[in-house]
């Protein structure tokens, strides 16, 4: 059984080398499958799952029925730093999710204006306002020192999560 496996891999390597040498570049997919047609979509289910506006519309609706969650200029012609912005955004989203645990009503919108990083969040009125202000002061200070740029939080509160429809 082992020998047959060895033979198969040898065959595979020969095939791939031939293929790549023949100028058609199909390689082996080594990562987990991230299907474009399943990303950021909540599938229709029984009808009891509450879903916000952001979650209800699929990614192809961005620009048509949804806005952008992260606004910066790195994707313009001639600008660089797009990858760094993405990594920063991911970190900021996880940070906010953890710091304001259970209070986020919807996805965070991150806007960059010049040097300034503005984090816009909608929160549920789960904590007392003084606790919110403590976390706001903490987040602003920590992220400012981390990213070496002024970070401001613009927060809005709602009484409960705003449900758009039930899927």
């Amino acid at each position: 059984m082992a020998t047959s496996l060895v033979r198969q891999t040898k065959l595979l390597s020969i095939v791939t080398s031939q293929l790549s040498s023949a100028a058609c570049f199909r390689n082996i997919h080594c990562t987990a499958a991230c299907l474009k047609n399943r990303a950021a979509r909540i599938r229709v289910a029984k009808g009891d799952k509450p879903v916000t506006y952001e979650q209800a519309y699929h990614p192809h609706h961005i620009g048509h029925r949804k806005g952008w969650l992260s606004q910066h200029t790195s994707n313009l012609q001639g600008e660089d730093g797009a990858a760094e912005r993405v990594v920063e955004d991911v970190f900021i989203r996880r940070f906010m999710y953890g710091t304001f645990h259970g209070c986020l009503a919807d996805e965070i919108v991150i806007k960059r204006r010049g040097n300034l990083l503005v984090i816009c969040a909608v929160m549920i009125q789960k904590l007392l306002p003084s606790k919110f202000y403590f976390l706001i002061g903490y987040t602003e200070e920590l992220l400012s020192h981390f990213y070496k740029c002024p970070v401001k939080i613009e927060m809005q509160t709602v009484e409960e999560k705003v449900v758009y429809k039930y899927l």
Partner: protein, 671 residues
């Protein structure tokens, strides 16, 4: 092609305009000043020295556009302070909430700073170009470990008083000579902090007194809150480190003496300061201007009588002139501050001092004006003909923008508005308020506590002096975006409403009171009820009063945990009943009447009379009888009269008549 085309066009235009002009000139012979273009006219004979001066190119700062845009925007009276989020849930509505939210935000920042300084390795990566030093983690521990002068300098810069003194002692014992400069710096450090380590704001466990000023501003600025004073005045101890190190110096110079004297004055050892000064003179050294300032500040403390104090100050100033030391603004302020304690001598000498300093081109700052006003307007003293000094000061100061040059600058606005309040001078108060809007003067209003005082005084003065429309305009402008009024100020507002006969605004004021957190203050609420019950208003107003009164009743009933419970008094209950009766709400009034019994209060006779009149209008006989029984239950002396009224005005059945006559006999017997 295009150029020739345009040329032809231009030519054509010129020709046509010339033709037009010729025609027009013919038509209007004498009107020539409008129609002749400049080119047609003869050039006027210009004077030979009139040259065209091309101005130098202006360089604008980088923020010039932003500043110009900012100057077009005024304060938004509907928004809360810039520190807070723009959301109704997160906006503070009372002054205690304001303090709580700003303090919790500040403590969040301190928590973050703690993490940043404890784990600095995660914050070292520097993305910013140019480098932003304040966003890097700061080192709180001294780096240099070995016993050397550089380590001493480092500890001095990090303001570690005890560590610096220990290191100095180690250096002395090891025999390494420490230069005079470094020793002077060490003396400065010890004398500034009074030989104890400064309070570390970012490390919560080391803070021993919780003053809100320390938490509010990271730099330890002393506010006028009552708790702040005990933070500062640790007294100057005998033989403390400063004196010891000073004694070890072989050749102390001016700087060393200066540090020692200023430390002594700051921490209350005034006579010692003067003896050190005499030492300095004996060593044939000259003092510098800050030493003299400190000595002048200390002068009123060492002498008792006004004349002696003034003579000492004059003596010091003369010595200053002898030693050719130029005075500065702080000298002027020190002299004026000392003159505050000199009584009548102060009043006569204040203006000459200012004019002499002016002659030396020292312009007074707001602190000087503050001291001047305090010299002439002592709190609580009656004023005789001094009202024009405030006016003169305001004439000097109006329209100018001041920068902070002296810690006492922040007292100016509070003193000025206190004087306006005491002398009831609304014109000057408006000028003071206008001065706040000029340039950077808003920075000189002080911390939140001082701002509160300023606005309280200003608003009380407005309530006293202006008519109600102006008061309400200012009310809507200031409250609650800038100022959360206390219950005293709200009472002033109610009085203003009363004076101007606008009692119909009371329900709105009640809503504001509830929002400000004053809804459970007994005196305020009782005053509201009295004002509502005093006169009969027209119908809609009476309706609103009734609604408001019922709302007030709810405040008495609900006992929120932590809220102060109010207790009913006979007066407040009567007022409530009167208001409800005036709005024809008999049923509600009846409920309230029952409350008299439950809360052990006795209703007055006029109240019951009024109630009976009201019942008569509806003709409910049973209620009238119950009313009489209630009155009898309280053993009121007016019960027989009530019984008579009922017998006369109502149609009674036999049973009711007999009941009434029984009651009458009862009350007659009990008298």
């Amino acid at each position: 092609m295009a150029s020739s085309c345009s040329q032809a066009l231009r030519h054509h235009v010129c020709k046509s305009s010339r033709i037009l002009r010729v025609h027009l000139q013919k038509a209007w012979p004498n009107r020539s000043f409008v129609l002749n273009p400049a080119a047609d006219q003869q050039p006027a004979v210009s004077s030979p020295e009139e040259e065209i001066v091309i101005p130098k190119k202006k360089t604008w700062s980088k923020e010039a556009v932003l500043q110009a845009l900012a100057s077009t925007v005024n304060r938004d009276p509907t928004a809360s302070d810039y520190r807070f989020q723009d959301d109704p849930y997160l906006t503070p509505k009372t002054s205690s909430e304001f303090k709580l939210f700003s303090l919790s935000q500040e403590s969040g920042r301190n928590a973050a700073k703690y993490f940043i300084s404890t784990y600095p390795k995660y914050f070292q990566k520097d993305y910013a170009q140019p480098h932003i030093p304040c966003l890097m983690p700061e080192t709180l521990e001294a780096q240099i470990e070995e016993v050397s002068e550089a380590a001493l300098i480092e500890r001095i810069q990090m303001r570690k008083v005890k560590a610096a003194v220990d290191l100095y002692d180690q250096l002395q014992q090891a025999g390494t000579p420490v230069s005079l400069d470094v020793t002077n710096q060490l003396l400065d450090l010890i004398c500034f902090y009074g030989d104890c380590d400064p309070a570390q704001e970012n490390v919560p466990e080391q803070r021993n007194e919780e003053t809100e000023d320390v938490q509010d501003e990271p730099q330890t600025k002393k506010g006028r809150a009552s708790k702040a004073s005990d933070k500062l005045k640790a007294a100057w101890k005998e033989n403390n480190n400063a004196e010891r190190i000073f004694a070890l110096l072989s050749e102390p110079n001016t700087h060393s003496y200066s540090a020692l004297i200023r430390g002594m004055v700051k921490y209350g050892a005034y006579s010692k300061a003067f003896s050190t000064y005499t030492d300095l003179l004996n060593n044939q050294l000259k003092a510098d201007v800050s030493t003299f300032n400190a000595l002048i500040t200390a002068a009123p403390e060492v002498k008792e009588k006004y004349n002696e104090k003034w003579e000492l100050i004059v003596d010091l100033l003369k010595q200053m002139a002898e030693q050719k030391v130029k005075p500065n603004l702080l000298t002027l302020n020190a002299v004026l501050k000392a003159l505050r304690r000199c009584g009548t001598v102060g009043k006569s000498q204040a203006f000459p001092v200012i004019s002499e300093m002016r002659a030396l081109s020292i312009d007074p700052s707001l602190a000087s004006y503050n001291h001047l006003l305090s010299i002439f307007y002592k709190p609580g003293a009656p004023f005789q003909g001094q009202t024009d000094i405030l006016q003169e000061v305001m004439n000097e100061v109006s329209g100018k923008s001041f920068t902070p040059q002296d810690p006492d600058d922040a007292q100016f606005f509070i003193t000025a508005v206190r004087i306006c309040l005491d002398t009831k001078d609304i014109e000057q108060a408006y000028r003071v308020h206008e001065l706040l809007g000029v340039g950077e003067n808003w920075r000189l209003l002080g911390n939140d506590f001082q701002q509160n005082i300023y606005h309280a005084r200003f608003f009380s003065l407005l309530c006293m002096m202006e008519n109600i429309d102006v008061v309400l305009k200012w009310y809507r402008d200031l409250v609650p975006s800038v100022y959360y009024p206390s219950s005293n100020v709200m009472r002033d507002l109610l009085q203003a409403l009363d004076t101007d006969n606008r009692l119909d605004l009371i329900p709105q004021i009640w809503k504001d009171l509830k929002q400000l957190g004053h809804g459970n203050r007994q005196t305020l609420v009782e005053e509201l009820l009295t004002l509502m019950a005093r006169e009969k208003q027209n119908q809609e107003v009476q309706e609103t009063f009734a609604e408001c009164a019922l709302d007030i009743k709810k405040m008495y009933d609900t006992g929120d945990r932590g809220k102060v419970m109010m207790s009913w008094t006979a007066g407040s209950l009567s007022d409530l009943v009167s208001v409800l009766l005036a709005a024809q709400r008999r049923q509600d009034a009846w409920e309230i009447l029952k409350l008299f019994k439950t809360h052990n209060r006795v209703p007055s006779e006029e109240l019951l009379d009024k109630f009976l009149t009201c019942i008569k209008e509806s003709g409910d006989v049973n209620q009238a009888l119950e009313l009489v029984q209630i009155s009898a239950g309280f053993c009121l002396p007016g019960t027989p009269k009530l019984i008579q009224r009922v017998q006369q005005e109502f149609l009674l059945s036999e049973q009711q008549k007999s009941m009434l006559s029984d009651l009458e006999i009862q009350t007659f017997n009990s008298d």
